[in-house]
């Protein structure tokens, strides 16, 4: 105890939360690009931005929880590819649409729980387990499907075809509801809080009766559930399913979680942040087209954005005296 705890209470006032920062950035982007080209903020474009990326945000919810617990998952992109294919295959095979939506969710939870078990009980680092699983899922998917696209999906399978009140596409509504539910769960249940506890101070958490292994396993299972939901949103968007692994999806999802303020140093971050980050990243991608910036720079801008967020987070933590 080297007296680091003594801080002016005033310091709290400077701590603008990551969520507000992101919301502000989104608004600023909308305003600036909207001034350059008003079509950017037209309902239709906003729908495009949100609809096309709802699945990323949903996957980032689970990823945020995994990262808060001090782990990482790089197999999520492959898993979503596999689950989307499963969903489409079932739908085409004539299963009831509801089952075609549900099975991938259950399957996702199961696959991730299995990975979680390897991490939690056998002590294999999550990056190793998920790296191995990435290859297995990806290779397995190609072996199984040979890359044949799934088409002729039944009517009523596509979630993206419906809108609430005529303006909010169902996948976007799902994203909002899931974010709210996950945020509520993380805030208002013992299990949800235990995640923060584990990330914040593993030893203290143990003394409060929060078992590491059980919590990690639970986190992975939940992450798998969200990956399944993301896969359903992914699969039900277009009239064909590609039945391949979406390129670099895991990276996009991790980026959303990190930019959303989830700290690998543990204990902080909310899923509201990760969803906002997913929206922000999507909006930036769209805005590059609108303001005619060479798309070659898109990835560089993304990288710079992650870096800026991470540095801002370090700075914020230092100000609050949470490290050093």
């Amino acid at each position: 105890m080297n007296g680091a705890g003594r801080r002016p209470a005033r310091a709290r006032r400077f701590a603008i939360s990551q969520e507000w920062l992101l919301a502000l950035a989104i608004v600023a982007l909308l305003v600036v690009v909207g001034l350059v080209n008003p079509r950017f903020v037209a309902t239709r474009n906003l729908q495009t931005i949100l609809l096309g990326n709802a699945y990323v945000a949903v996957a980032a919810i689970g990823m945020s929880m995994v990262i808060v617990s001090g782990n990482i998952d790089i197999s999520v992109g492959s898993l979503i590819g596999v689950l989307a294919t499963v969903s489409g295959t079932l739908a085409v095979a004539g299963w009831p649409v509801v089952l075609a939506w549900l099975v991938p969710v259950v399957l996702g939870a199961a696959v991730m729980a299995a990975q979680g078990a390897l991490v939690a009980f056998l002590g294999i680092p999550s990056i190793v387990v998920t790296l191995g699983m990435l290859s297995i899922l990806k290779g397995g998917l190609i072996s199984a499907t040979g890359g044949v696209w799934i088409s002729n999906l039944p009517d009523g399978y596509h979630l993206a075809q419906w809108s609430l009140f005529g303006v909010v596409p169902v996948p976007v509504a799902v994203m909002v509801v899931l974010t709210a539910a996950a945020a509520w769960w993380m805030r208002n249940t013992g299990a949800g809080r235990s995640l923060y506890a584990l990330g914040g101070n593993a030893e203290a958490a143990r003394l409060c009766g929060i078992g590491r292994a059980r919590t990690v396993m639970m986190v992975f299972a939940i992450h798998g559930t969200f990956a399944g939901l993301a896969a359903v949103l992914f699969a039900t968007q277009l009239s064909v399913i590609q039945s391949t692994v979406p390129p670099n999806l895991e990276l996009t999802v991790i980026t959303a979680a990190v930019v959303g303020g989830v700290s690998i140093l543990g204990g902080t971050g909310t899923v509201v942040g990760s969803t906002l980050a997913a929206v922000l990243i999507a909006a930036i991608g769209s805005s590059l087209i609108f303001i005619s910036i060479s798309p070659f720079w898109l990835r560089a801008v993304q990288g710079a954005l992650i870096l800026a967020t991470v540095l801002a987070d370090m700075w914020r933590r230092r100000r609050r005296g949470l490290i050093r």
């Binding site: 056998l122 990056i127 790296l131 290779g139 870096l307 370090m314």
Partner: protein, 336 residues
Amino acid sequence: MTAWPLKLPAHEAVLAAILVLALALLAVLSDRFFTLDNLLNQGLLMTEVGLIAMPMTFVIITGGIDLSVGSALGMCAILLGYSWHNWGFPLPLAIGFALAAGAAGGFVNGWVITRLGVPPLIMTIATLALYRGLAEGISQAHSVRNYPPWFAALGQGTLFGVPAQLWVLVVAIVLFGVVLARTTFGRALRAIGHSETAARFSGLPVDRIKLAVYTASGFMAGLAAWIFVSRVGTTRSDMGMGVELDVIAAVVLGGTSIFGGTGTIVGTVLGLALIQLLKDGLSLTGVKGDATIVVIGTVLILSILVSNFAERRRESGRMPPAPAPRPTTEKGRNEP
């Protein structure tokens, strides 16, 4: 694998055993597999990944990770080609420039990680996107070709009957292996990986060492870029995409602990060889690419599982006798 001899083998031994087994099996399945020609050729094909795996072993031993190497490779390749073709650098200077750019890229990672305390995973995810973005942005998707013939020597030529770049890899393996096993630097790496605080309190220049390791990682990505460009005779901004995962898989398979502290270059080389020969051998016996990556993913998880299990057995087997109280002896007698 149930009846282990009295002494449970270390991870490297397990790996070597798997490798020998795989070699034997594949040699039986395909007569084209176990030939000098093929093995040399496989060595050639794994050179780029192998070169990057050397500093990656160091990075992971210090408890860090570098996900940006694939992108750094792409960035260096583009800078090599671009500085030569578009900015009029003489080719040797362009090569030097690419190597320097790689080192600089690694240095930026190391600087932010050590000075600002950003976790390596996050920092290198950021630069993974950033360096690839720079490669794409600078090249504007143009590739550079028509290198002079002498440039191909490194990637396509041979020296004493062995592919030229394989010599580079061998030198790198020996160099990194000796540095890790025999020098103060190698010792410091392990100390940092096991306990950064204790290393700091022992007067080791922790930050400088980590900075050096990340810089080396970037530099080797630059070297790999040079060899890659020389081998294929063209420069593209998507070069080296996904290499980081191949490299990490080899290093981790080689027994380097992702938590830091333990790991050997021998292990990494075994890991590299196992992955490369599995890919090759399976392909020769008619297994397709998609099934091969499933096999490799499974081998990765299983080998870590087995050696974790072995480690536990050893720990629990050794625990009681080791520090048992002994009578006060003068001069620590060596009791086995």
